[in-house]
């Protein structure tokens, strides 16, 4: 007997609701790739959890669906002080909380909820700080370092003060870990002494409420009839189906087979290898969008001979990246020249990638004192990532390419956690790494991945420290004028290419096969995928 499902079911009071047939109207079934690690996104840094939270919760601000524009959500408007240290948020009126078996809200959403949601992660003495562990990953890494205080001014006004100007704050607030939870629900659960329910049986203000979650099987949602977006009247942000079900299907070929047979209407993260067949399938539409990612080889520049720019440049010339894009990305990626991807503002499209030129590579190697090449170890990513669909296959191709200029690379891989840890410690000579952006601000990945400060912590995997680049980046984060910042980011991308900070592979395309009856699905690439605005037409 499943204790947990029963507990969750009881808490949600769903036995009556879930009878087959009761769903009657439209049900959207999505084949997703894994169980969420948490139902409360504050603890997670995984897309699986973000995807669930994107339906259940709202945040102060949102990213426009399928785009990169920050738009109002629970906050209707905001003002930022001249010095960039104070943010005042005006909150939306009439936003309703979900109901479940153990909790019926008595009031609408207000400033107390916002303060509660942040303070439970920020204040170590907060009664909820330790409920469910203290690992607030996103908040701890991205928001907390510059946060000074958050206060309620009145029921519908919240004031956030920072310790230093931090331009990306607003974008960061749009990501699922910054979801707004109900303070009233927390109080009620404290009284009932069932604090854990706040994390396990989520109550949000989102367009869908959670009906049931069965680990490794399904996540079931139901549309909220009186969601605030209906009053606003924006169809793009409304739930247009009655029920939403994620069917957890870890194997990509199986997801494809299921969407083919109609067992689900949307299959996420297809195999690149299946794309050609999906394009020709009369029942499917293959949607695509570029994701905001970075995928690269980090030459550890604290190790010889990679401190020599000529060696790095030679290896870039020696690598047939278009062939990698063909074999690994199945021709779906676009070779990258700039470290800011085309899907983000301030992408520098004047930069051109270095061509595949083994002769030039050989010449540069000779110039650097390695006419016969050298031996090195090449790390291959052991897991499938959106930015690197098959690390091992890419490594095999690189190995073969480099052998042609005398560089003998041995392929090495570790378990993922170990891989990350060793990469942070700088054990690699040449390592394959990558990132995806969580929010639409170029600084996120540049700061953690390429700034000189990251060399000591190891987050800068290439241990590439360019003074001019880092100074510009530091400065770009303290000013809020986007035009000014764009200029700086453009210049940073030039510096990166000149100095060969690393070998960039491709900007991956994200694909989603959907059945023909699915209307208006848009691939969303910052945080969780929203299923509002999607409908089914027969």
């Amino acid at each position: 007997m499943s204790v947990r499902i029963l507990a969750a079911a009881a808490a949600l009071g769903l036995s009556a609701l879930l009878q087959p047939g009761a769903a009657g109207a439209q049900t959207l079934v999505v084949c997703s790739e894994a169980s969420p690690d948490f139902l409360n996104p504050q603890f997670s840094s995984q897309n699986t959890a973000y995807d669930v939270a994107a339906q259940i919760y709202d945040r102060l601000v949102a990213t426009e669906r399928g785009g990169s524009q920050i738009i109002p959500s629970l906050a209707e408007s905001w003002t930022i002080s001249e010095d960039g240290l104070t943010y005042i948020f005006k909150l939306r009126h009439g936003v309703k909380w979900h109901t479940n078996k153990s909790f019926t809200p008595t009031r609408d959403f207000n400033a107390d909820d916002v303060v509660f949601s942040v303070m439970r992660m920020f204040d170590e003495n907060h009664p909820y700080y330790k409920v469910g562990g203290t690992n607030y990953q996103f908040f701890g890494e991205i928001v907390k370092p510059s946060l000074k205080a958050i206060e309620k001014v009145d029921d519908y006004t919240v004031k956030v003060t920072l310790t230093r100007p931090y331009a990306p704050l607003l974008s960061a607030l749009s990501v699922e870990p910054m979801s707004i939870l109900s303070a009233e629900y927390a109080d009620a659960m404290t009284k009932a002494n069932t604090q854990d329910l706040v994390n396990q049986a989520p109550i949000g203000t989102g367009p869908f409420s959670l009906l049931a979650y069965q680990k490794d099987a399904t996540v079931r949602f139901r549309a909220v009839p009186d969601h605030w977006t209906k009053a606003v009247g924006n169809k793009d942000r409304m739930a247009l189906v009655n029920d939403l079900i994620f069917v957890i299907t870890p194997d990509a070929s199986v997801r494809y087979a299921k969407v083919k047979s109609g067992e689900c209407q949307i299959a996420r993260y297809p195999n690149p290898g299946d794309l050609p067949a999906m394009r020709t399938d009369p029942n499917l539409t293959l949607l695509s969008g570029s994701i905001a990612d970075q995928s690269f080889l980090a030459f550890n520049q604290q190790k010889k001979p990679f401190d020599d720019k000529r060696v790095r440049e030679a290896l870039v010339y020696a690598t047939n990246i278009p062939a990698i894009i063909d074999a690994v990305y199945q021709g779906t990626g676009k070779q990258a020249a700039a470290i800011v991807p085309p899907s983000l503002w301030s992408h520098n499209d004047t930069l051109k990638p270095r061509p595949y030129d083994p002769a030039k590579a050989k010449a540069l190697l000779t110039e650097a004192g390695f006419p016969n090449g050298f031996k090195t170890v090449l790390w291959a990513i052991p897991v499938v990532r959106a930015y690197m669909p098959n690390g091992r296959r890419a490594a095999e191709l690189i190995q073969a390419d480099w052998a042609k200029v005398g560089v003998e690379a041995q392929i090495q891989s570790y378990e993922w956690g170990e891989y990350l840890k060793r990469g942070r410690a700088g054990d690699h000579e040449v390592g394959m790494f990558g990132y995806t952006w969580d929010y639409p601000d170029p600084s996120q990945i540049l700061l953690s991945g390429w700034h000189c400060d990251g060399v000591k912590s190891g987050a800068n995997r290439a241990r590439w420290c360019n003074k001019e680049f880092s100074a510009l980046l530091t400065k770009a984060n303290t000013i809020t004028d986007q035009a000014e910042r764009t200029k700086m980011f453009m210049r940073m991308q030039e510096i990166f290419q000149e100095d060969v900070g690393g070998l960039l592979f491709a900007n991956a395309q994200a694909f989603t096969p959907v059945r023909k009856e699915v209307k208006d699905y848009k691939i969303h690439f910052f945080g969780g995928q929203p299923f509002v605005g999607v409908s089914l037409v027969k």
Partner: protein, 336 residues
């Protein structure tokens, strides 16, 4: 008899302790860092890393951690997953019925086909049927089942569209878990369509998981039957003019079943191994897949608790088989 049971049960305790030791220390030897794995590409700063280690009790000396662990285990607490913070027992409880349902169906399938096939092969020794059964079962025994599963999906689900591709039941059915076995629960709920759906989802995984036990049972039944059929009392019965069918059914089969039961008992461990691969291929939400995931996430409590619980299950089945064996065959009882 009681003494036999007691000695047999007392032998279980050191094995149990051994399993906790093995599970605990072997898993700690695995390099890797659950905190780092959780943090992913973006990483985690050193101070927060340290705080988390403390919170999870990973900073204490190993022996102390083991002591704490054993004490908790004795109190029935197997800890909480590092990744999801859910208790190990409740996660196991939610997923284990799926594995059991699959394993039972697989064994059932193996018995229904394997037993008669083995018996007939033995009775008609050296006939075409015998050679056929032996050939097929040896092929089944040699089957890389991860590949077998893929082939079956390709054929039955993709090409012919007869069976669903994966999962336990079609999504439109939500069956309140009572026993956790969807086939049983759907019948309890009186929903015959849901039952059919659950059953059709079971077919391919059960075939894949049942293939090796089927082969083993067919072969074992055949050789046990051959042995028994050669015994004097069977010859006597035959000589006395007993009908061949009666000889087989009444005398031979009963005696031949003893080794077969043992083999089924021994297959339980192998079934879990098969379940790991089968669940991976068919997205079956069971404990096999759960443990594989726990390894890649370095989720120590899940791994320890999971191996322990599975160890207990395997041990209990073996114990049961031994006791059954002792019941059927009194000679064993006194041998120890």
């Amino acid at each position: 008899m009681l003494r036999f049971i007691l000695t047999r049960v007392s032998l279980v305790i050191p094995t149990f302790l051994g399993i906790t030791l093995l599970a605990f220390f072997l898993i700690r030897l695995v390099p890797g860092d659950p905190i780092e794995t959780m943090a992913g590409e973006r990483g985690i700063d050193a101070t927060r890393h340290e705080i988390l280690r403390k919170e999870l009790g990973l900073d204490r000396p190993l022996l102390v951690q083991y002591g704490v662990y054993i004490e908790r285990v004795l109190h029935g607490d197997l800890g909480k997953s590092i990744v999801t913070r859910e208790s190990v027992i409740s996660e196991f409880g939610a997923l284990f019925p799926a594995t059991i349902e699959l394993a039972l169906c697989a064994i059932l399938l193996a018995l229904i086909i394997g037993l008669p096939a083995g018996i007939i092969a033995a009775v008609k020794r050296n006939s075409i049927f015998d050679h056929g059964v032996m050939g097929i079962s040896l092929t089944g025994y040699s089957m890389p089942i991860f590949w077998w599963g893929l082939l079956l999906i390709l054929l039955f689900s993709v090409q012919l569209g007869i069976t669903p591709v994966s999962g336990r039941i079609a999504v439109q059915y939500y069956i309140e878990p009572v026993t956790g076995f969807l086939t049983v629960d759907s019948l309890l709920a009186g929903d015959f369509d849901a039952f059919k759906s659950a059953l059709s989802h079971l077919v391919l995984p059960a075939i894949v998981l049942g293939t090796v036990p089927l082969a083993v049972i067919a072969r074992m039944t055949r050789s046990a039957m051959l042995e028994v059929l050669g015994e004097d009392y069977i010859r006597t019965a035959r000589a006395k003019g007993m009908a061949p069918l009666r000889v087989v059914a009444l005398h031979a089969l009963r005696n031949a079943l003893i080794p077969v039961i043992t083999v089924i008992g021994l297959q339980v461990g192998a079934l879990f191994t098969g379940a790991i691969l089968t669940e991976t291929i068919f997205s079956w939400p069971g404990v096999g897949k759960w443990l594989i995931e726990a390894i890649s996430r370095r989720d120590y409590p899940i791994l320890q608790g999971g191996t322990l619980l599975i160890g207990v299950v395997v041990m209990s089945v073996n114990l049961l088989v031994d006791l059954l064996y002792g019941l059927i065959n009194p000679r064993i009882r006194h041998a120890r």
